[in-house]
Symmetry: C2
Subunit: 299 residues, 2 copies
């Protein structure tokens, strides 16, 4: 099976000084990501501080993207919540708006839950949305959710809901896990969470990446995708790895926002909601220097 | 400082067969807990499957308790959510209803957040509720939330919000941590999460317990509290420990619900929401036997 290798960006959610969602900067940033070469957006993921947004904020912001002319077919919003009922609300909303799919965390408060329980959470959500257009991208990020999306769980869900279970984002950072998922489920669109894995993901039959640092380097990552198998692949891979190292050892989300603020020369992009705190000025200056060296949006 | 040692019960949330909140059984169970000797209730805690409820469900169920005649002064509902905005909604609602306080988890999706960020989350919630009647009970359950309530965080919050920060529930299971909190903050009402710690908690200057198994053994735990320092203390302690051991090695929340169902001879209390699954019949039978041996509500 030959796939189009894609870059979907878990777009940051900008906030105003009073910590409201900054819809203007959000739409602007999302349009810039697509213009820079991203195939689509996965707003309201981990990088988007989605867990710090209310349901109403998430729905309003998604509507703003579409109202601004972004094709919903290029949107896979995160809709996972601790309560299945809330996940139903968000997934129904996104599906009715025509989104390509929804990126769905398992319920993430309780830990060590049985696989039957995780299956049941997804199954009840899908049954309650009750819309043939629903496409679910499973979100495996056990270090945050505490609930792994195991091979067994994927198999049960794909058997129970053929056509509905469309993909998986593997944020475990464990390439062997990603490879096992791709090998076991070649029909599933399996994304890595790091652009540095794009060559392996593509060669192995994966679907590309959904990466936090794509907020900063969409053009560079797209260039790597387009260069796969050509003689410029190595140089492109080096560029994306160089940008990625800017964030090593830093709190990822505040650092990504600081980097976007530096690229855009607009400190308004750097604001975070608690439980995060904005980068200290010294770090911001260092990020700014590194990001400017990498070029605007990795161009 | 001499305190009244209290039992607050993190009441289970019963569900109907279609998984709606079963308000009738919820009110009935809560009234039975108070009648059996509980000083009050901490609904919408971990044991209550609060994370699996929508905001509207939590508010409606709280209103039902008060409408049924339960004095809000005996209620400390859980109001913590991943999004501060949602915590504000629930905390404001509970405060306006006259509740004694709110039991507040830190935002619990993101892990390894800085203490400054956890402080900021509580501070913004308190500022946004903007009600002098608000009383916050901090909820330390790092094994679920991933965000510990450290001594440093407590100190900063008590300094910034004197009178508002009223207590803490220590669900870490680490008595040394509870002792450190009580010693450092004698004005704080510090509850243990296990009734087996009541003697140590009381002797050390704590406020009592908020325990899952109190759903099953409210009378027994109350008897232990009343017997503290008397010659029947040891026997009472033995009874509460015996009931507690029924749940060892079992998934706690489904087992507690199965036990209440057995006590009440009403299987309707056993239903759980995903990501939990109800106890297998064999386990239910075992629990039933153990609970019947312990007596109705530990009476």
């Amino acid at each position: 099976m030959t796939r189009t290798i894609e870059l979907y960006v878990p777009a940051i959610t900008p906030f105003t000084q009073d910590l409201s969602v900054d819809t203007g900067r959000f739409v602007d940033h999302c349009q810039a990501l697509l213009a820079a070469g991203a195939h689509g957006l996965a707003p309201f993921g981990t990088t988007s501080e989605a867990a710090s947004l209310t349901l109403a904020e998430r729905m309003t912001a998604l509507e703003a993207l579409i109202a601004a002319g972004i094709d919903p077919v290029r949107l896979i919003p995160g809709t996972g919540c601790p309560a299945v009922g809330d996940c139903v609300t968000l997934s129904k909303h996104a599906t009715e708006l025509g989104c390509r799919g929804t990126l769905v965390l398992p319920p993430f408060y309780y830990k060590n839950v049985p696989e039957d329980g995780a299956f049941d959470a997804y199954a009840r959500m899908i049954d309650a949305v009750a819309d043939d257009r629903l496409r679910v991208y499973l979100y495996h990020i056990p270090q945050m959710s505490g609930v792994p999306i195991t091979l067994g769980l994927i198999e049960r869900l794909m058997t129970a809901f053929p056509g509905i279970i469309a993909g998986l984002k593997d944020s475990s950072g464990d390439w062997e896990n990603t490879r096992a998922v791709i090998d076991a489920f070649p029909d599933l669109a399996t994304y890595s969470a790091s652009e540095s894995l794009i060559p392996r993901n593509a060669a192995g039959g994966g679907a590309g990446c959904i990466s936090a640092s794509a907020n900063v380097n969409p053009a560079g990552i797209r260039r790597l995708i387009d260069a796969l198998g050509t003689e410029s692949e190595a140089a492109c891979h080096e560029q994306v790895s160089a940008v990625r190292t800017i964030f090593e050892g830093l709190p990822l989300i505040p650092a990504i926002k600081a980097a976007v603020a530096a690229q855009r020369d607009d400190v308004g992009f750097a604001t975070v909601r608690p439980p995060f705190v904005a980068m200290a000025d010294a770090h911001q200056a260092k990020i700014k220097k590194a990001v400017i060296a990498a070029g605007p949006q990795g161009a």
